[in-house]
Symmetry: C2
């Protein structure tokens, strides 16, 4: 039975080339079973007339579909839905079985319970998104990334990046990290001391699996990065929170008997305070004396505004007790999902074995494209551009916050892409966030950062990495107004 | 101090554009500390003369480096290394500390111990690689993939794929899997029943974490996929092997008390046998009666030669006890690292929470590019092309193996991209593999597939997915000759 021309339509406003739209429409109809094998398509002339497009557009779409086996072409008689496409199986009628499978009994839900729930998937729909960790499209060098991706997509490199690397990394990317990135943090590392990860989150996950067992005691900063807390909860580790002060984690307060200490020394998350050098040395001395490992999450060192960043703990660690976590999520973009671990070769070998069996390796295309982005200087240029833009936004933020009387919880902190604020007495930041959300403003209430969530109701975070400068004053104005409504 | 022209050289045979080589060379010299801030570069004229290139080539490289902040340009006086690049920190002299950190005491090595070690990273260097699971570059539609990647790299889509999706997937890819792929397996699934994973390996890893605890009993096929065995060993599950026969896993032999049964029903790995429909129904009935979950790894259903593939277990599972694992590694390419789970929404929700905290999500670029590859019909075309090529290679393999007297261990198996062979009496397939490796031939000895490795010495696998047809006869001839040497 011939398929009528009425079965086809095009959306001229869709933005996709008409030829592509037509192809997608035919493929979708075949997939859905609306077009069947051996059915004849309208002639290119008739379909072109019906759709109001050039005949060559229809002919091109048909030719492409013949080459992908969706259509077959028969001389003089036209085009048919190919009989090789239909390998669709009819599902058995899914009459509910006598008894469904009892999953509730088999899944204990520990991952869902441990999962943080403080993020808005639809943050882009808000006019004033003071959300942390998302890229600002105006600061990502789209053209440079595309250029680097194009190199990776060339014949010359394509075969290398399409293969299964088993547990290995792209040596080009590892080399660029070792030569271009780590020296800025004062770190010198060989290939067997570096492992690529799916972002810093994955690096922390790997470290937690390698170093911790259920019940192992570990110290974390309080407040701290919620993504770390969910990992430790899922691992059932014994988590000992250490309250931070204006200089970050106080080494004297680390309880005895911990196996691992997690720290964000260069930029405490979420307070943004920086650990001074004497305290860093003290922390490392204690690590040596007490025998704990230190996991240093250096997640946004590129965003340091006040001159050169201080050296990483890893750079001054003479005993080899530090595991360093780096990320490209902030300085390139988060959808990249690339970060890295730097540690003793024994730690790296164990983490590599685990990564190999849990996901093999980050996709070859992403690794090689990032290697080009580094080798051609785009990474530096983009980090510089972001740093300058964030410094400007920071000034706009400071002025707007001062005008509204908002109070910084750690005024001495510099750099980064966010502020940590104290809510006025009596105001619950979760309630503040809920009200602001109805006014197109997204903020991050403090509770998810704290070991005891109630301790967080006095705080909130305002990030300025994803909000354009010109929206900042109005966003802050709404926050100020809502605070006053709440009696703050 | 000016940098002398002698500090520069170009490799005309390198293949990279000269302008790009020059940029990379300058960036590397800055990163290595050989070129210092404020040092003056040679003039474009002098450097072009020295390098034997057009002056515009040097000028372009310099202009690009100015735009990426590596160089600064001063009117009339030329180009200088920028003073913003040098944020390199000098590492503290790493005099070995009094006592190094004792990692051996802190890492129990369970992942390294569990890791399989049967894969050759350098398989590409062998003339006769009968290795499984790697893509053949001549069968991957490089141009189509590049075209789809280009769409993803356009302005229109770039912002969406660079963001942090938290625990979400690209809805376009999920839709195409639900509409184009699953119906061929007879499976109908909604969005909350599908989770994207970093390949099938990651899918199996997630399932093992969600369903198993240390000591949980689970049944696996024997022999089975070694990647599954490493996951279960790392999880410390109690693994009960069930010997397979020519029809795959015999449901009657599944021991009582298991929580999960892992099966490769459509294409038993490594024997390639297919489970007949009556046995599938029997397996599902037992799952219902005994209360175990079934994990169905349908890793290469596209490579079925004998007409339509049989419906997946998932398609005829009325109780909802089946967790389905799919992969694009075989039908697109393994470096993509994309696969998926289809299961009850409760299973998917728990696995999604785990995936979110362990890696967030597969990179946006890869997800969207694959969505285009599916929507434009390239996936079908490529799978068809691979199936035809493999069917031809299979004939070449069969003829060559018959000529050398090699014996198939499961002669009734069809499809796939490998054969499972019985080694002649007295020949250890590990010894065979070691000798062949010295003769440019890679085969997979049987031991890693078996619960008791010794049971595998009588078997080996020959895959034909990565070896060109014209190399097959000589490769098989060498295998035959080596077998005869070993007394087989």
């Amino acid at each position: 039975m011939p398929i009528p021309t009425d079965a086809f339509f095009l959306d001229h406003a869709d933005g996709l080339p008409l030829q592509v739209q037509l192809r997608r429409q035919i493929i979708a109809a075949v997939a859905a079973g609306r077009f069947r094998p051996e059915e004849k398509l309208p002639s290119t002339r008739a379909l072109a007339r019906h759709l109001g497009v050039a005949r060559v557009t229809v002919a091109q779409a048909f030719a492409e579909l013949v080459s992908t086996d969706y259509l077959s072409s028969r001389d003089r008689s036209g085009h048919y839905i190919s009989d090789t496409v239909e390998r669709r199986l009819e599902a058995e009628p899914l009459a509910p079985a006598a008894a469904g499978f009892d999953w509730g009994q088999r899944i204990d839900g520990r991952f869902l319970r441990a999962q943080r729930r403080d993020r808005d998937h639809d943050w882009r729909r808000f006019a004033y998104p003071f959300v942390y960790g998302q890229a600002d499209p105006t600061l990502v060098d789209h053209a440079a990334w595309r250029d680097c991706a194009m190199r990776t997509l060339g014949r010359r490199e394509f075969d290398a990046v399409t293969g299964d690397l088993y547990d290995a990394d792209d040596p080009e990317l590892v080399d660029h990290i070792a030569r271009q990135i780590l020296p800025r943090r004062g770190i010198s590392a060989g290939r067997d001391e570096i492992l690529l990860t799916m972002g810093a989150q994955n690096a922390l996950w790997l470290v937690a699996q390698v170093l911790l067992r259920a019940g192992t005691a570990c110290a974390i900063e309080d407040p701290c990065y919620p993504g770390l807390r969910e990992i430790l909860a899922a691992r059932a580790a014994r988590v000992l929170p250490v309250p931070v002060d204006g200089s970050g984690l106080p080494p004297d307060a680390i309880p005895p008997g911990v196996a691992v200490v997690f720290t964000t020394a260069s930029h405490q998350c979420p307070t943004n305070s920086t650990m001074p050098l004497p305290r860093r040395k003290q922390l490392l001395a204690r690590a040596q004396a007490q025998g704990f490992a230190v996991v240093e999450d250096d997640y946004e060192f590129e965003m340091s505004f006040a001159g050169a960043p201080s050296p990483a703990l890893k750079a001054i660690d003479r005993a080899g007790a530090v595991i360093y976590v780096g990320s490209f999520s902030k300085s390139v973009f988060p959808g990249l999902r690339l970060g890295y671990l730097v540690a003793d070769p024994r730690v790296i070998a164990e983490a590599r074995a685990l990564r190999g069996m849990m996901l093999r390796h980050p996709p070859g295309h992403m690794q090689r494209t990032l290697a080009h982005f580094l080798s051609l200087g785009h990474y530096d240029a983009q980090a510089n551009r972001m740093r300058r833009a964030y410094a400007r936004r920071r000034e706009v933020m400071l002025a707007a916050m001062a005008a509204e009387g908002l109070r910084l919880a750690s005024p001495e902190a510099t750099g980064g892409s966010s502020f940590w604020l104290a809510a006025p007495g009596g105001v619950d930041s979760a309630e503040l966030a809920a009200r602001l959300k109805r006014r197109e403003v997204l903020i991050e209430p403090g509770a998810p950062f704290f070991h005891q969530p109630a301790a967080g109701q006095d705080f909130f975070r305002l990030a300025y990495s994803s909000i354009p400068s010109e929206h900042i004053p109005e966003g802050i104005r709404r926050i100020g107004a809502t605070l006053r409504e709440l009696g703050g």
